[in-house]
């Protein structure tokens, strides 16, 4: 594989990964602000 092709593909994967992670964090923060404390406690992992 050409190095240039590799860097383009890798950059695309990293950019997509960063974008999805950022969106997930923002969405989580928004939901957390409005979330029900009962739901939060009820869905705890044990």
């Amino acid at each position: 594989m050409k190095e240039r092709t590799f860097y383009i593909l890798m950059s695309a994967v990293v950019a997509l990964g960063v974008a999805v992670t950022a969106a997930l964090v923002i969405y989580t923060a928004y939901e957390y602000k409005n979330c029900s404390i009962i739901t939060y406690i009820a869905t705890e992992l044990w």
């Binding site: 590799f6 890798m10 009962i38 406690i41």
Partner: protein
């Protein structure tokens, strides 16, 4: 240098993608999933469904008692509002005292003309201060709510009409079933950081607080006796939570929600223990109006709430009477 082995390049790209996917899935499982539920914001504010207690509706759960006070269509009706946990109380007041047709509920909300409204504690206090609501049924106001009333030149009159249990909740899989008041305060001051210090598993304590100005947050601040509260813990979501609310509100949540109430100082917050006064964290709730609201029907309704009939209604709805 210009070319690299194709399999190596693909492996590196897949590895980076896998790292992102693992990280995002972990965030979702540990945190996002818990913050998201399938109810809308409005439904969450009203875990006790507005429709369930809609006055005069067929099959309503609003309680109707025999009442010597009965307003008619020609009376100026006091506008009622209040905390979500107390909606069953004031819906039942309307069902018992107000004329049919005075409560207008359309498209999942009360219309502006309706004598019953639903803003919950956060906005009901300002609505009373602003004169948009005559009587709000709420827990004690926060400092901010008192300050807002003062800023608009309103003095709030608080008439205690009933009592309710203030409860602490944990996940039902948490083996801890009860704590002392001192231990609960210790959790929220940060003294206790791990459930193992309180007879539970070796797991971080994640103390949850409520929105400033909500009824339960105001009661919690009183419970803390002025001690500063921690508002969360770094990586607390990896631990096991504890939170607080009012008993009626917790009782109203669906059974499949796996939360349980904690005994406090050895007494479980059952309806009976709240009524007989053995449960230590019992708080009064109030009918709140502007002290300069001299509307005759407001005064008649406040008097009725303290009468045998009004107190009987409080008890019939599921709360403890004040008299």
């Amino acid at each position: 240098m210009d070319r690299m082995k194709k399999s190596t390049a693909i492996a590196m790209i897949v590895l980076i993608a896998a790292i992102f996917i693992s990280f995002d899935v972990s965030i979702y499982v540990l945190f996002t999933r818990r913050a998201v539920d399938d109810m809308t914001v409005e439904e969450r504010k009203a875990a006790i469904s507005l429709e369930d207690y809609l006055p005069f509706a067929e099959g309503t759960r609003a309680v109707t008692v025999e009442s010597s006070l009965r307003f008619s269509d020609v009376d100026k009706l006091p506008v009622l509002d209040g905390a979500s946990a107390l909606y069953p109380v004031y819906a039942s007041v309307a069902a018992s005292v107000y004329p049919e047709g005075s409560v207008i509920f359309e498209d999942g909300a009360f219309s502006e003309e309706s004598a019953v409204q639903f803003r919950n504690t956060l906005r009901a206090y300002s609505a009373v201060a602003d004169g948009d609501v005559d009587i709000a049924f709420c827990a004690a106001p926060s400092k901010e709510q008192r300050a807002y009333a003062a800023s608009v030149g309103a003095e709030l009159e608080l008439l205690p009409i009933g009592r309710e249990g203030f409860v602490f909740i944990v996940n039902e899989n948490n083996p801890v079933n009860g704590l002392t008041s001192e231990q609960l305060r210790g959790i929220y001051t940060g003294k206790y950081k791990n459930w193992s210090e309180l007879g539970g598993p070796d797991r971080m304590i994640d103390p949850k607080t409520r929105l400033a100005g909500s009824g339960s947050q105001t009661v919690m601040e009183h419970f803390m006796n002025g001690e500063p509260m921690i508002t969360g813990r770094m990586f607390g979501f990896l631990g096991a939570s504890v939170g607080y609310s009012f008993r009626f509100y917790v009782e109203a949540v669906p059974r499949e929600m796996s939360v349980k109430m904690l005994a406090v100082d050895g007494v479980f917050p059952s309806a009976g223990n709240i009524k007989n006064g053995t449960y230590p964290l019992v708080t009064e709730f109030y009918a709140v109006c502007r002290s300069d609201n001299d509307d005759e029907n407001v005064r008649r309704l406040l008097d009725w709430l303290l009468s045998d009939e009004g107190q009987g209604l409080i008890e019939a709805v599921g709360y403890a009477r004040i008299k």
